[in-house]
Symmetry: D2
Subunit: 129 residues, 4 copies
């Protein structure tokens, strides 16, 4: 299954080239992730459990301009005990693909200073993504 959400494109996201800055694509992915995970994400944070990005990769296919719509479609690509991989396509809701990306996430316990198992409530959300 897949999760899709639109990210609001801001004028301030554009750089001097007039297009979405390449770093900001990762912010769009993060925004989609936090929408998908919302409740759980913040609950975990309050318990000192952080969802950290350990690897991020993006292939840029077409520039996003200030009037484009940006939709992020994400899906679970791999799931391990304390980490998981998400795949993303950033597109305009029609045929244009702006980027394809991947992030490897780890569940990290700040208090214990080490990775922990992906909590069941997040596992469940992931199984639906």
């Amino acid at each position: 299954m897949k999760f899709s959400t639109e990210v609001q494109v801001r004028f301030a996201d554009m750089d001097a080239y007039g297009h979405l800055n390449h770093a900001t694509f990762f912010t769009y992915l993060e925004t989609a992730r936090t929408i998908a995970f919302r409740g759980i994400f913040l609950d975990l944070m309050s318990k000192g459990q952080l969802l950290l990005v350990v690897n991020a990769e993006c292939s840029y296919k077409a520039p996003i301009g200030p009037t484009d719509r940006a939709i992020v479609t994400m899906q679970l690509e791999k799931s391990k005990r304390s980490s998981f991989t998400l795949g993303y396509r950033v597109h305009d809701g029609e045929e244009r693909t702006f980027a394809e990306a991947k992030t490897v996430m780890i569940c990290f316990d700040e208090n214990r200073g080490k990775p922990v198992a992906v909590p069941p409530e997040l596992k469940e959300v992931l199984s639906q993504v």
Copy 2:
């Protein structure tokens, strides 16, 4: 008349205090402005006519957290030949006000290096804000 629009709150907008960074409130105002002015804003830019902020002020009333809704309501407060003043309220759509702000904008011709009269198409949009 007033113009209202919701700005999508992003996790990355929060700073180490866990709240929307104070500078980012101005990005929210800009996002609302560009939504209100959209077509005109970019048309003017392509002709070298920039809408510059010459003064900006914000009073912060309550912090915006990662799960809050942020709505910007703006209205025209003053209109001169080449400049105008917009007033804003950032709120949650209900009774909570996050901030009150004001920006003084000037129409500036990059090629001629000086302020120019607010173009009629923008005047018209402003008369509706």
Copy 3:
């Protein structure tokens, strides 16, 4: 007395107009503040004492481009029990002024949910700004 520090201008700070985005000027002021207050700032944060901006204002005089140097000079303008006002000039180290600004800051105790007296160690730093 005054405190001056250079803020590194980043390409990503520019917006589609090719100049420093107006909101990012406030980030430059914040960067200068945290350099001036560094140790104290984070110590206070770890104790739940936040330095919040309650009002911010900026007058823009000249655009900052990607190759400009940006120096922030700040000074204490007013000091009260739990709040203080800082004045800033953003300039190029020579005769060009990019902006003049002001922020009203409050010391806020997150745990008690109310303003607290500016701690003595910060008072001392402020007396030197």
Copy 4:
């Protein structure tokens, strides 16, 4: 040969986790690139020649906090007619590595709408990186 430069860590670069946001690492790489390429970079832009990132990847090794120093060391890893690959290490100037990254860059002519050969003046800078 290698090029190293320090990127100024800003409080606003931290996210609600209290660490440098993962997307902002790419901004640090870009900042280092533009420092290395400075003159050329902007000259090319004024001629409609853009240096676009077509692929970016980062492996995160350790978090960057608000008081850390961040130094980016970059080197040319591959060079083709119209594209090149840069490798980066983000570190504290001593033994700590925060991240390792890679970007594939392309020289793109905005007016002709297609990739162009890396200009000789950039080739020369790259040969020294």
